[in-house]
């Protein structure tokens, strides 16, 4: 009775029936840093994980941009 969360090249196995948010917190992934998708569609993190499904997590953190405040 499990589902998979996929983030970049990593795949995590978690129990189905729990919410996406709880699964993320259990895995130590900040919910703020990802967007969960089911079959290509965005879902909210209160959605329950279904048996056997794969939830793809889209990482949203980017960095290294030039600060405009510098001269």
């Amino acid at each position: 009775m499990s589902a998979q969360l996929k983030l970049r090249d990593k795949v995590y196995e978690v129990p189905s029936g729990m919410t996406v948010r709880d699964a993320l917190l259990r895995l130590g992934i900040e919910p703020e840093s990802v967007l969960p998708t089911r079959q290509g569609e965005l879902i909210t993190d209160d959605d329950l994980l279904r048996e056997g499904e794969v939830i793809r997590l889209v990482a949203v953190i980017s960095g290294g941009g030039a600060s405009l405040a510098q001269p």
Partner: protein, 317 residues
């Protein structure tokens, strides 16, 4: 979770606003909010020409998409940095920016740093003392210079970047940790133009990073998913992660941090920080862009040194 507007299945939940929206209503909401902030902070008008700095990433392409949808006169600028990182990073981001512009019939100006200045950003970094191990310093310096040059030479009224709230909060956090009051005094949604410096605006400064990413995904915008290879381990990303932990425990913490800062600034909290600012700007003796340094600006000095060292190495070979 249901969309607050129509009751259909929600595509995104914004805990800091206690607001969940479906795809269609989210794709209307974000542009409406962008318009609101453009007006609130007096960024630019529909009569003005806006240059959008696009990297091929989610934020800048989403911004250009929204400005176009809202009817603004927005054109794009892509700066080719020559970063490969084993994944063809610059080539791929260039392709994304070009495909986006071509698909919408938008004008994109491309500046290839290696073609114009004689070396890629990683090559330049390896040839100077300015960040030998990481090219981020040379990259930031070069991007700021090129963006201002193209905005000024092209007669644009404003230069828009896709900086989001996470970017702004991370910068604010970093500058607060070091009490860099000069930078704090200049941080904000708008950096007014003056003395040859283009007005710089950040219409996405109040949107969380996940909101701009959600917009790009829901809009079907093809953006470069990989981060710049040199951003791995960047302090700004560590700050974002720290702030996200706060946000997770207390929804709205990032927004509150940034808005409280803007309010404190509005009330004059950083007025004396102007003491840290350069006393006066004058045109660089080489390129003519404003600088506080005597003679040539930091960009010209850096790139002159890069070209000189490159020539030395070629002569030695």
């Amino acid at each position: 979770m249901k969309c607050r507007t129509c009751g259909e299945r929600a595509a995104i939940n914004m805990r800091q606003h206690k607001l969940a929206l479906c795809r269609d209503h989210y794709l209307s909401w974000l542009p409406e909010q962008t318009e609101r902030f453009i007006h609130k902070y007096a960024m630019f008008t529909r009569q003005e020409r806006v240059l959008v700095a696009v990297s091929g990433g989610k934020d800048s392409l989403a911004l250009w998409d929204i400005l176009d949808r809202l009817g603004y006169r927005a054109e794009g600028l892509y700066i080719g940095l020559g970063i490969d990182g084993g994944v063809g990073y610059s080539a791929e981001s260039h392709r994304m920016a070009q495909a986006f512009a071509a698909g919408r019939g938008l004008t994109l100006t491309v500046v290839d740093v290696a073609e114009v200045e004689g070396a890629t950003i990683p090559e330049a970094a390896s040839l100077t003392h300015r960040g030998r191990d990481k090219p981020c310093s040379v990259c930031g310096l070069t991007k700021r210079h090129v963006m201002n040059r193209v905005a000024r030479d092209g007669g644009y009224d404003a230069l828009a970047t896709g900086h989001n709230l996470d970017d702004e909060a991370a910068t604010l956090f970093g500058n607060t940790l070091t009490w860099s009051t000069g930078y704090l005094a200049r941080q904000g949604p708008v950096l007014p133009g003056a003395d040859g410096l283009a007005r710089k605006v950040k219409p996405f400064c109040r949107f969380y990073e996940r909101e701009t990413a959600a917009y790009a995904l829901l809009r079907g915008i093809d953006y470069i998913y990989d981060e710049c290879p040199f951003a791995v381990g960047a302090t700004s990303i560590e700050h974002k992660e720290t702030l996200n932990r706060l946000e997770s425990a207390r929804p709205g913490a990032k927004l509150s941090f940034y808005l409280s800062f803007l309010e404190a600034k509005r009330r004059g909290a950083f007025l004396t920080a102007g003491d840290d600012l350069p006393a006066g700007l004058h045109p660089c003796s080489t390129c003519g862009q404003p600088t506080s340094a005597p003679g040539s600006c930091s960009f010209c000095r850096t790139w002159d040194a890069v070209r000189a060292r490159r020539a030395e190495r070629l002569t030695a070979v």
